[in-house]
């Protein structure tokens, strides 16, 4: 068999050296951007006890088990008594999920349909269509996967979002530009140059078609796409990763270190997260009814994420009862999405391979296991954990 090994080692791999250099550049960049965890203590903290390592004892104790045992520590035990399959959603309507296979729609009864091999996707305001991106194309498809129109671009469209207001528009990023196209695929035009790689966010529940986007210099602008009027701009903020609109119509920006809410004139009014301690990282945030926010706060030292609900949008000035912890679990909780009725919060939990559904009031927890396989049928379970895009669609505003 040494001959066979030598032969396998002699098989020429095309551009082997070039591949190694390209890969090293990518790996080196990822390493430079990572947030190193503080050194772990020898003794496990109580919180770490939650991080039950999914080790099969017999495998771990045998010599081969010791050899392959290192990777097993990546998995954590999620919520006990999790349902084995995503057989239903706790709230009606539809969930949009992207996996390596493409974009999927999950209906309330748990049925799933692969819309196609799309990289990103977003619902139209009433969920009648999905706008999706793949390669050089922006595509509008029906929930059954039938394409309605397609727009080809020289660059690669990403972060497409459908406006919630009448006169429907779609914004998307292409390289460092922000563009707008009609909901029927017509009238594609440039809206802004030198934008940051952050998804634009439409002002919800308004009679104006207003979108907020981040510029490359860190300024977040809110503009009326019909008139081109700038409604406000924020001061420069480094590392904006997400833009949100609060139910009260204010813009909030999420960086890894803080969540800032701005007044309607663009001036900061407060940081609902307060000052994070060293080693803490914000993973995601979502707005919830009654002008509140939920954010995911990852503590690298403890290796756990806490979901916090807060009504203190103005920096410590809480309207009612202040911040409260909804849930704490080992690993990362991310991709927060609120159900259309505003009662359930969904979080993706990659290390546990679970979707976590939390009812906000009265509190209740539901979890679903083996999520990777749900969106990679026939796979080995090693595909990347799927991303939750949206839970469609919030009720129309009362006029």
């Amino acid at each position: 068999m040494s001959d066979l090994r030598a032969t396998l080692l002699a098989v020429p791999v095309p551009d082997e050296a070039g591949a190694e250099e390209r890969a090293w550049e990518v790996v080196r960049a990822a390493y430079a951007e990572r947030e190193p965890a503080p050194r772990r203590r020898r003794l496990l903290r109580p919180a770490l006890a939650l991080a039950v390592v999914a080790v099969v004892a017999a495998a771990a104790l045998s010599p081969p088990g010791r050899a392959v045992g290192g990777w097993l520590r990546d998995r954590v035990a999620g919520e006990p008594n999790a349902e084995p399959a995503l057989a239903r959603l706790p709230a009606p309507r539809m969930l949009l999920v992207t996996s390596e296979r493409g974009a999927w729609i999950v209906r309330g009864d748990g049925s799933k349909r692969l819309l196609g091999a799309y990289d990103g996707a977003s619902f139209s305001p009433r969920g009648l269509f999905v706008v999706a991106t793949a390669g050089h194309r922006l595509v509008a498809v029906e929930p059954n996967g039938d394409p309605r129109w397609s727009l080809s671009r020289p660059g690669r469209p990403t972060d497409a979002r459908w406006s919630p207001t009448p006169g429907f528009r779609i914004t998307y990023r292409e390289g460092d530009t922000l563009r707008v196209v009609g909901g029927d695929g017509n009238g594609d035009h440039l809206l802004a140059r030198a934008v940051a790689p952050v998804a634009p966010a439409w002002l919800p529940r308004a009679n104006r078609t207003v979108v907020a986007y981040a510029r490359a210099d860190g300024v977040v602008r809110a503009v009326d796409v019909e008139s081109g009027e700038e409604l406000f701009r924020t001061p420069r903020t480094r590392g904006v990763e997400e833009i949100l609109w609060t139910p009260g119509g204010r813009v909030a920006t999420l960086t890894r270190k803080e969540l800032v809410v701005y007044r309607r004139d663009g001036r900061p009014s407060g940081t609902p997260t307060g000052r994070l301690e060293k080693g803490q990282v914000l993973l995601d945030a979502v707005t919830v009814p009654r002008d509140e926010l939920v954010y995911a706060d990852y503590d690298a030292a403890a290796g756990k994420t806490t979901l916090v609900q807060t009504d203190c949008l103005d920096g410590g000035a809480c309207r009612l009862i202040g911040p409260r912890e909804l849930y704490t679990g080992p690993g990362h909780l991310r991709d927060l999405a609120l159900s259309p009725d505003g009662r359930w919060l969904l979080a993706g939990w990659p290390e546990a391979d679970q979707f976590l559904f939390l009812r906000l009031a009265p509190p209740r927890i539901r979890a679903v296991d083996a999520i990777t396989r749900e969106f990679d049928p026939g796979g080995t379970g090693s595909a990347p954990f799927p991303r939750v895009a949206e839970w469609c669609c919030r009720p129309a505003p009362a006029q």
């Binding site: 098989v11 790996v27 390493y31 080995t380």
Partner: protein, 182 residues
């Protein structure tokens, strides 16, 4: 071997402590085999590069949780080979005609064509196997894992690993014999 193990532990510890040069040493030591394993399963250089790169990115993300006393290779190889299997399956489902044609071209040389080097006939023989079978062969004969280790890495019963190895070896033997006959 012991020195290599000591080096690797030092590199892992260094990378955890923030040393890019330690990470590069770890990368340089493990990239060639991980990349080659992905290529032998996928038979597509671009896809193999992506898969091997994903494996190292996963390693960077998990670096803080990695125990320096554990061997890095099995951890990386498990990710890379499983991902290669998934990618190969997904491509088959999507009927990526280009890739299928490439495999068919490799598997069916022109009549009368002169036989290539041994590695070429091995590639032809591998091409006649499914990605799942190729993965088992690669783990056993390129990366030197035991059938028990392969079973755990791929989440398969040991009997399945053994039968895939037998079938893989038969195909490789036929390929080599064909070349000898010619």
């Amino acid at each position: 071997m012991a020195d290599a193990g000591r080096d690797e532990r030092a590199w892992v510890r260094g990378a955890q402590a923030g040393s890019a040069s330690a990470l590069e040493a770890l990368f340089r030591a493990h990239w060639p085999r991980a990349h080659r394993a992905a290529y032998l399963v996928l038979h597509d250089a671009a896809a193999a590069e992506d898969v091997a790169q994903e494996g190292f990115l996963a390693a960077v993300r998990a670096l803080d949780r990695f125990e320096p006393g554990r061997p890095f290779g099995p951890w990386l190889h498990r990710i890379v080979v499983n991902r290669a299997i998934d990618v190969a399956r997904a491509r088959a489902l999507r009927r990526e005609v280009g890739a299928e044609q490439a495999l068919e071209t490799t598997a069916a040389p022109e009549p009368g064509a002169s036989p290539g080097p041994p590695s070429e006939s091995v590639m032809l023989a591998l091409a006649s196997l499914s990605p799942d079978h190729r993965a088992v062969v690669v783990l056993r004969y390129l990366l030197d894992y035991s059938p028990g280790e392969i079973a755990r890495m791929l989440g398969l019963p040991r009997g399945t690993v053994n039968s895939r190895l037998r079938r893989g070896l038969d195909a490789l033997q036929r390929g080599v014999e064909r070349e000898t006959d010619e």
